[in-house]
Amino acid sequence: MTATTGAKPLVNAYASGRLAKPVPWALLGATLLVSAVSFVFIWMAEPETEYNIAAAVFLGVVGYAAAIYVVSRLVEGPRPAMNRLITTLVVLTFVIALLPLISLMFTVIVNGLPRFDATFFTWSMRNVVGEGGGAIHAIIGTLLMTGTAALISIPVGLLTSIYLVEYGRGPLARAITFFVDVMTGIPSIVAGLFAYALFTLIFGPGVRLGIAGAIALAVLMVPVVVRSSEEMLRLVPNELREASYALGVPKWLTVLKIVLPTSMAGITTGVMLAVARVIGETAPLLVAAGFTTNVNWNLFDGRMQSLPVFVYSSYVSQGTNAAASLDRAWAGALTLIVIVMLLNLIGRLVARVFAPKVGR
């Protein structure tokens, strides 16, 4: 929040005793340069090692933090110096958070592209040993199980949020709100164990079914849908509801024809994000649906592979050709990321394009 004026008098009482604007940048450049040069010397002393860019940048930044503090303390005093140091650290944390994201995206794309081909999307792993093979069975399984989970959890979640916003008063509504919050924190593997325990009771021990995976995902998805739809329904202005009541429209029609259409864009976004969250879940599917190498279209018969579990099993049991298996894992990871990012993107686009027009 620095307020600058265009005109600069020769002696500015407000600018004296302050560092000029380019000074921090110059300091940063200088420390980075010094650090880079000193690491060149280290590298020349031991030419067989690689030039350590990461360490050079790291040392340069740390040097900058120290330098800006000292310089600012000398020129501006201890309080502004502290301020500058904290500013440096805050910006630094953001850069640190970006590093894993960039590294992750980069490695997934680079390692995933070699097997991101037609074979990968048309072959299953049936009778495939070593190279080749694909993930069509996993993609089918993921679509079936996530779709079923969505079919279960969207009506339940939406109706619950309608209950909480439009009808719910008193202890039951408070209990539901609290337990939905608690349910958001259920570890995904516990949801998988629950689905497994449920179907063991019906079909006997050791059973792995696609529908069990779908139930586990639904348990994880419902609270997310409830939370996001509830927030969206609360955003609908009360004037709209009251106008509808004033015209004699019953409450259920008001909800159906006024409240829901107004908040539809937000609800769709929430559902998209919830699907994006559960489509990458591995642990519950590993426990409840197991893994297989075959295409399985039937949710109620036998094990079903899914994309995250495919990535996991390709990584853990690499078989005779470890490199080929690892390549498949990366390609699966790339596919997953593409799907998740697409869902996120579509969700945000829907929110932006179909948002109710205000001030009409």
Binding site: T93, L104, T107, L159, M183, P187, V222, V311
Partner: protein
Amino acid sequence: MTAPTDRNRPVQRLGDRVFSGSALAAGSMILGALALVAGFLVLQSVPAFTTPPDEISILGDKNLWDYAWPLIFGTIWAAILALVIAIPISIGIALFISHYAPRRLAQSLGYIVDLLAAVPSVVFGLWGGNVLAPLVQPFYVWLWESFSWIPLFAGPPSGTGRTILTAAVVLAVMVLPIITAISREVFLQTPKLHEEAALALGATRWEMIRMTVFPFGRAGIISASMLGLGRALGETMAVAMVLSATGLVTFNLISSGNPSTIAANIALSFPEAYGTNVNVLIATGLMLFAITLIVNALARIVVNRRKAFSGAN
């Protein structure tokens, strides 16, 4: 309906009754589902407690508590390490987005951090095992050479880098977006008048943040960290794929002997488990469920109390 005494009562139509009934049913179903989750887990874990330990192969020759204790320790230890790394960084990011970044950039920067939350955990595991672990291994060697007098870095360093510290770093990256998102919202709710009053008294930006933003957002930071803790406790795949666990109880961060976590142990052992072994794993799952339930409930109580007296919302 025509009687004047009835005019004050709202008209109940069939549609109304069906609609509110189904909404109520859906809401109750959630409570029922949560009760079912707890019920089935308890039911399925009973055999693990009643069967004599020497008849359960997965336990080796230990009893259930001796089997579960290193796992519980590992779960909590890894989660705490992850939080120690993640909390300062998340607060920094949240401050950067709410108070430091140019206003126009702030929202897109928020999206970028949210992207981290969208990455599936199995991809984090793949990345942590294949990229991060080899990357940090030389650093562990250096830590051991320089700081082996600290018990945390007693070493000897793992040759693969798949230690509990690496797993904690991956966990930290995964909980970052959660803590950041909540703290950011809380920081943005700081009353503008407080901030401006601090600045008007001549405070620097850091002093303004320390005097107005932090006191206002303290409860928010605490509850955000608790939610992050809940997430880190229950995270499965990232730990299962990164950590090479041996089941020791140790505070040593960089050696090749590491405690496993409950969730990772279930994921690794469940596909091959049979008979009462399954019940043992479900019993450990129940313990995990109980731990996360307590942590999350505490977090929610803190959030709700703050809402109640601050007048926000």
